[in-house]
Amino acid sequence: MNRYISYALVLLALLALSGCAEKLNLQPYQSVSEELALSSDGNVKTVLNGAYDALSDGDLFGGNILRNAELLGGDNEIAWVGTFNGPREIFNKALITTNGEVESAWTESYQTINVANNVIASLEVVVADDKSRVEGEALFIRSLLYFELVRYFAPQYDASTTGAAGVPLVLTPTRGVTDASKVTRATVEQVYTQVINDLTRAEGLLPEENDQYATKSAAAALLARVYLQKGDYASAASAASRVIESGLYELNADYADAFNLDENSGEDIFAIQLTEQDGVNNMNTFFSIPIYGGRDGDIEILTDHLALYDSADARLAFFYEGNGAIRSGKWNNQFGNVSVFRLAEMYLIRAEANQRLGTSTGATPLEDYNEVHTRAGLDAATAVTLEDILLERRLELAHEGFRIHDQKRLKEAVGGRPSTDNKLVFPIPQREINANPNLTQNAGY
């Protein structure tokens, strides 16, 4: 009988182990293969949503890319008082090449670009009706990031810097890591050209309306911003005009209604969507205070900034005192959307461009100026200068991620430094230089 037990044992063992070899082919439960992800119309569209998600990362338009512009441009109008060294180094214009904020801005941008590139390369499986829209959205996302990258990691565009090193232009999806992955930096001119061409194409491809996703106007708004940064005022005015004249957007009656929104308002052309379930609003994290879900009130607004406002200005009343300092009221909703383009900016771009050129594309500079000015509860002006328009822009768009880019564009000194100071350009992250020796470091690092 023992013998039978032993036979049974051997049989059982063999039975249990036969077929085990096939069990080695396991598939993951939480991920799918690349082939599957890009195999169908529906799947590619979910990847497109993945690109928006990547864009909404806290290091990008989840807030930090806007915050960094305020910190790097910060002088006597704001103060960084938080404990994190990364943002402090940005604020102090004392960046080191290993700064984590800088590194994240770079790596997360390219991660998002790769998602967009995957979508663009998979258009053949997208149904004909949606092909244009999908391509347009992906181009919009990619352009938005290349524009930010070139603004942060390369000198301000002007006649002397067009040939300067910009950022690498990667336009195809990554399928593997090869020597070809060790890309070099395109010139500033090449990056701007790519962005403008892509956006022009995207504007043509995108629909007028597209829920909370990128639209024709979003592409035009970005084009207007790019042209303005580049100093191509005629194109800027024309692009801004296309947004305004689309008739799809209007300024809210109250300035305060443009902020802390769970859903886009009438003046939002494009905004990062947040819900309680996902997304992060790092503008809230750093500009706000704990009772609104912020950190410790890491960024304080100083009186020098408040002094710029007329006492009757509704935008002045929007500041408040909390945790022992003055705070911006724009970022008090932890789960609020992060607006990327508001209509007010378009009026201001068009006003500035027209003023500089002496033109009246779409409207006179005074008309556009007053649209914004009177909404803030102020009396309409009867005449306007470039300085007026620039001040209006500075006040209207304060603490929304415009500061350093305007300073560079307008050649304003930043905390005693000339706007062309090397320390006002981000260093190429050290990890990137280590991984890719073909990249050159920026001057000053």
């Binding site: 949503n49 991660q111 992955s181 050290q430 890719n436």
Partner: protein
Amino acid sequence: MKQHLLLVLLLVLGVGAFAQRTVSGTVTDGRSGEPLEGVTVLVKGTTSGEFTDSEGKFSFEVPADAASLLVSYLGFRTLEVPITGETLSIVLEEDVISMDEVIITGYGSQIKRELTGNIAKVSGEEIANMPVNSIEQAMQGRAAGVFIETGNGKPGSLTRIRIRGASSVGASNQPLYVIDGVPIVSDPQNDPGDASFNPLADFNFNDVESVEILKDASAAAIYGSRASNGVVLITTKRGSAGVTSFNVNLQGGVSDPTGSREFLNSQEFVDYYEQAAIGGGKYDYRLYPDDWTDEQEAIDFYLGTYWTRRMNRYAGHSDWETGETETDWQQEAFQRGGFRQADVNVSGGNQKTRFYLSGSYSKQQGIIIASDLERVSGRINLDHSVNDKLSFGLTMSLSRVMTNRADDDNQFSTPLQLVALAPITPTRDLDGVLYDRPTTTYYNGLIEAQDALKQLTTYRNLVNTYIQYNIVSGLSIKGELGLDLYTLNDEKYWGRRTLTGLANNGFASSRWSQSFNYNTKAYLNYSKTLSEAHSINAIAGIEFQETQVKATSISAQQFPVDDLKTIFSAATITAGSSTINPYNFLSYFARVNYGYKQRYLLTLSARSDGSSRFGANNRFGFFPAASVGWVLSEESFLDGLDALSFLKLRASYGRTGNAAIGNFEHLGLYGPISYNNQSGLAPTQIPNPDLQWEKSDQLDIGIDFGLFNDRITGELDYYNKNTFDLLLDVPVPSTTGFTTQLQNIGSMNNRGFEVLINSRNLAGDFSWNTSFNFARNINEVTNLGEQDIIDEGSSRYMNVVKVGEPIGVFYGAEYAGVDTETGDAIWYKNTEENGVVDRTVTSDYNEAQFVVLGTPNPDFIGGITNTFSYKGVELSFMFQGVYGNSIHNAAGGFMSCNACWFDNQTRDQLSAWKNVGDVTNVPEARIGWSNGDQSRSSRYLSDGSYLRLKNLSLAYDFPKSVVQRLHMSSLRIYANGVNLLTFTNYDGWDPEVTTDFLGGNINSGVDFYAAPQPRTITAGIKLGL
């Protein structure tokens, strides 16, 4: 079955029918001279015999041809006694270390004399009752070449074990744990966002019979693709036939931190920050003179903004100018810890059925506020011999660990970050409510301790059943089924005053993770002495393991009151998730041990492992090993050397692997995301179909020796382990959209030697035993493919992997102190041009070339245990130490940065530069300015060597006469101390440190508000009934 029993019975009776004679005698303890009760006395080669009585006497009939008796007793060396007369006087010696000791090997055992591989053994007795909460901690310092570090003193912290150095960069460096034959799940299962919780904390190591650590390739290769980091075989106690023994053990005691740091007191804080404000103003004026009318204006501005205003704010209701408040925040982070334990075990049985049962309860109160760990466990081990041919049995344990956990070291809420708060800040306001920001500099961790609950509970059921059948003499087959069910539950609640619960009226999360691992194996064992000269032992088998980890989690907010902490009460569910993660191994293994005249020994082994973790192109790996031994002391040419009782040379070479990587790292993957309440996909991983295990080829040459009749025994080993095809997360240009890819690239070498010496210095009434181990390991990263360095580019942490250097070296700027003229921090440039290193200094940190500043890996590790005993009193103490490593205080840039910000500073910062000509290592204090606070700098690196009185125990065994009067079989009282003394130059809390939020292989030796180890003193009593 009955027929067979009858047959056996007849056989026994039949034997009894032969001529018989009576043998009697007494068995005594060689040390005390006391008689030993319950000693097994058997006729060699049979199962007939009996136990000694309370006077140590035995008497029974033996066959006329019986030549010798086998006398065995737990804790004593088994003795073979020739039957020389009718009355025998037998003296048993305590089992210290013997060449005839049985060593557990993978899928079998071998006597030490015949072993050709390197296996370190720690007996259960050595570690029993150590007042620590996991078995690895109890083993620290007791095995040569086994580096054990618990980087954090919080209860349940993960312990790092490195056997013969780290052999991997990208995969795990932890050994494979096999408990009673089951490879257990030893990866932490808790929320990956939290510090790892030690999965071995649930194991009651008082149940351990022995721990064998397989170190060289010959010993470990039988475990194939999971053996590169060594294998830890844990064998639990089993019952033996004889008198039922019943043991009760109780102990309890207190714990305190092993060390503290010195911080500024109120007066110093106020004065220092005034100094820093002046320094800040001066510096601002120096940089931007145009912004100010004169220097004084800048100073006044800084004094106003950064001193008066801040001091007012931080002082709360109290007056900082009069020094009204003096809060020692460090003290607030600690509490008096403690340790309590109760153990009961029963064992016994007869020749047919043996059992071991145990139950245990232990509770450790953490030295950090709001932390503790409680363990309840039970075990049943059963063996049953149906007859000579068939036997089966099981080991089964069930345990629960419940722990309150303090947050990771990098959280504001972790208790030790309280040290950052200002000493002028009262803990509570006038209403008795804990202060929070803006009065406290940062979030007040005391609120977290009071209003948050973080309870982690684990349940583990570990089962192994076997059935063994002896087919013919020498040939047997064994089938085993092992089950390892590990369930972890993480319940958290943050009240509405806590950082996490502040904006949402309370926040809670609940997470369950369950890992189920089953393991089946069947193997043949053939063991035969072919003639006087040839002996052979062989095994061959097949094994399959399937593991699946399932986890669900949910989080929610908006609670009506803080007293309702479970998600049942939440108004809003914010997130939920469930995941499934499987992996499989299918393996074939074989081993042959061959001995010629017990003199020449040979072992060959091989395993073939297939795993779902590897790429399609490389699914199976082959891991062979060979070893030889030559017992010189058996040779006639050494006959004259009487002092040399044993001498063996051994050599082994073989290959092992490392498969401890993620489950699907070879695939190109897209993972789910959500945006705008819509789901989506995004790429997460680039494919690598060639991905495979790492390989380690290891050479080991060793000598085992015994001197003076084995009074001194020892092992000397040299090893050289080359690991190649490293599993590396290779940083790739992030312009690809990815930052890393797992590749088989590069190689690493570990070489070194180990010394183990056991000596019975004095025997007799007063005995003194010494066990000493010492190891030197040289780790060198030899190749990283195209890169020279893996540096994730953190500005705070500086461990890197660099070719030509040991893993994890500290790589940063070399601090040169302070410019005596300006008070600026300076660094050596260390830039190299044409082979010449520029040793000039710079005050621009960016100008300083990073260089290797030190290593977290010790040059030497060792331990020494001395045990003295005299008439029942036993004193044992064990020192353990590491030498030659450095520690990086990554929090230095906050706590020792000459007041770069308002974190309270360590007292050594008081020596900051003040006036031109001051010579000091601390730069000028300038509030709000960075002046030498860059963390990647040798400024924050110190020597990490230490020597520690790890364990001291004093015990008294009451004499037999007393014990018998109390109707007991034994009675022991004892006192136990852990971490009693630490000798070190490190001025942080504790030199045994690796901050708990930086897991992995590269970041080690990093201090970041890490909790020190507890220093524990307990007293206990152990009764044998």
